[in-house]
Amino acid sequence: LAHFPVLDEGFWEGLEEALIEADVGIQVTQELLDKLREEARAQKIRESAQLLPRLKEKLVDILTTEKQPLFSEGKLGIFLMLGVNGTGKTTTIAKIAHRAKIEGKNVLLAAADTYRAAAIEQLEIWGKRVGAATIKHRRGSDPAAVVYDAIHAAQARDVDVLLIDTAGRLHTYIHLMEELQKIKRVVMREAPEAEIKTLLVIDATTGQNGLSQARLFGKALEVDGVVLTKLDGTAKGGIIAAIEDELKIPVILIGVGEKLDDLQEFDARAFVEALLS
């Protein structure tokens, strides 16, 4: 983008390319560039060096939300993790559990992915590594029943943070979305005193389908936040700009690797700098 000091077509095409290649999507890209072009015209801006910071600011505005603390004090915090297959839900649970343990919290895991081969074993191994017990049933059992047991165990054991792992599922499978709704109903009914965070886990390599995911998961259950994983790759994860712009679901955490401490709080400014680098 530094190649175009003059505001010619090449400059605007360069901006469009940078945004689209970051998976921001054509619609949000066009809206942003239309606004920027109008601003340049109205304020008689002649140099590209003046416009790039304005574009970054617009993106930061879309992505900035009021920060909430990750863990609630004095009450049970329940994290319900959902998302399509393979996005990093189980690994993210391990990372959040690790952080909670470091903060001295009592953590419990619920192995409510009762479907996929070795899903329960995978979560249990992570549980042992972070020092958190795992509530589980047999593979093939009703995930809502696992959640029910986990909540009552959490309440009995004075747990601070309960993390619920669910099976990956495509948002287009209505019966699987209904299964999630049932799980959430159980959580709300059995733990009315808890602070419940429903988090949608999205892979940073995802393109425009991420918007469809957020729309349908959001429609089925209220989603409180997004975890954007695999940002340690070369994908920029720009789809969250489209998600936040349309659905106002904030990104609260990012995954930057496969280890327990590869979890960071979302920083809109740092994200936008990386997006347009």
Binding site: E17, G88, N209, K230
Partner: protein
């Protein structure tokens, strides 16, 4: 959908006879939009649109078609040329066992695809053998063993061995079992992870698989090209298994990868069950991408 949008473009224009540059320009703006919404790579779209424009401008509109239909016809033909036509088969070794290695980013669907591929080949009369060479992910070996059991295919793994050692031993174990295809599951890895890409290069060099298949998630966005190019350069792959096609992702990554690496998509994964693997149909994919 695109067909309707193109029709709308052309009902506004009155040009018949030959397609004017302006008519084509309008129509191609819609095609470009459709392709970018479908996650086709920006540069691939740019080149594709230029190709179509060159063919379309000045072309005679056939009596049986409207200008919109004419442009769609050209787009479909150019897309088919890019995607490749017909099914791309798996190549088997003249002297068994055929060794197939699955590689790709984290979570793309490799372990499941390894088992699905074994099931698919078993139904074709082959005797597959699986090697669980992901020693990193918790319960990865267990995952493949469970899947292997479900389809009645033996799975080899060995704790405490390096990936290279266990891959080599796994292949040796397949021979006395009279297995003619060995499918090797590997750990998900980033194309920019030097250590992990070096490991993969080393395994490929020593094990010499007859087929390396890159497993790619159909919802991958613009980054698909970066990933495919690096995997091609570092380990080279013979084809792609495109997964999670049972969702509503348009799958533009398929076009991007084929256009940029020349490697075909060989198989499509369309669900989580072990029989959800099918030969890939490029023409169906083109329609899906265009929307």
């Amino acid at each position: 959908n695109l067909a309707t949008r193109l029709q709308n473009v052309f009902t506004k224009l009155r040009g018949r006879g030959r397609l004017s540059e302006q008519d084509v320009g309008e129509a191609l703006r819609e095609v470009r939009l459709a392709l970018l919404e479908a996650d086709v790579n920006f540069k691939v779209v740019k080149d594709f649109i230029a190709e179509v424009k060159e063919r379309a401008v000045g072309e005679e509109v056939l009596k049986s078609l409207t200008p919109g239909q004419q442009v769609i016809k050209i787009v479909h033909e150019e897309l088919a040329a890019l995607m490749g036509s017909g099914q791309s088969k798996l190549a088997f070794a003249s002297k068994p066992p055929t060794i197939i290695m699955l590689v790709g980013l984290q979570g793309s669907g490799k372990t499941t695809a390894t088992a699905k591929l074994a099931h698919y080949l078993k139904n074709q009369g082959k005797r597959p053998f699986l090697v669980a060479a992901d020693i990193y992910r918790p319960a990865a070996i267990e995952q493949l063993k469970i899947l292997g059991e479900e389809i009645g295919v033996p799975v080899f793994s060995k704790v405490g061995k390096s990936v290279l050692a266990l891959a080599k031993q796994g292949i040796r174990e397949a021979v006395p079992k009279n297995c003619d295809v060995v499918v090797v599951d590997t750990a998900g890895r980033l194309h920019i992870d030097e250590k992990m890409m070096n490991e993969l290069e080393e395994v490929k060099r020593e094990v010499r698989p007859h087929q390396v298949l890159l497993v790619v998630d159909a919802m991958t966005g613009q980054d698909a090209v970066n990933v495919a190019l690096v995997f091609k350069e570092r380990v080279d792959f013979d084809g792609v298994i495109l997964t999670k096609l049972d969702g509503d992702a348009r799958g533009g990554a398929a076009l991007s990868i084929k256009a940029v690496t020349g490697r075909p998509i060989k198989l499509a994964s369309v669900g989580e069950k072990l029989d959800d693997l099918q030969p890939f149909h490029p023409d169906r994919m083109s329609s899906r991408i265009l929307g």
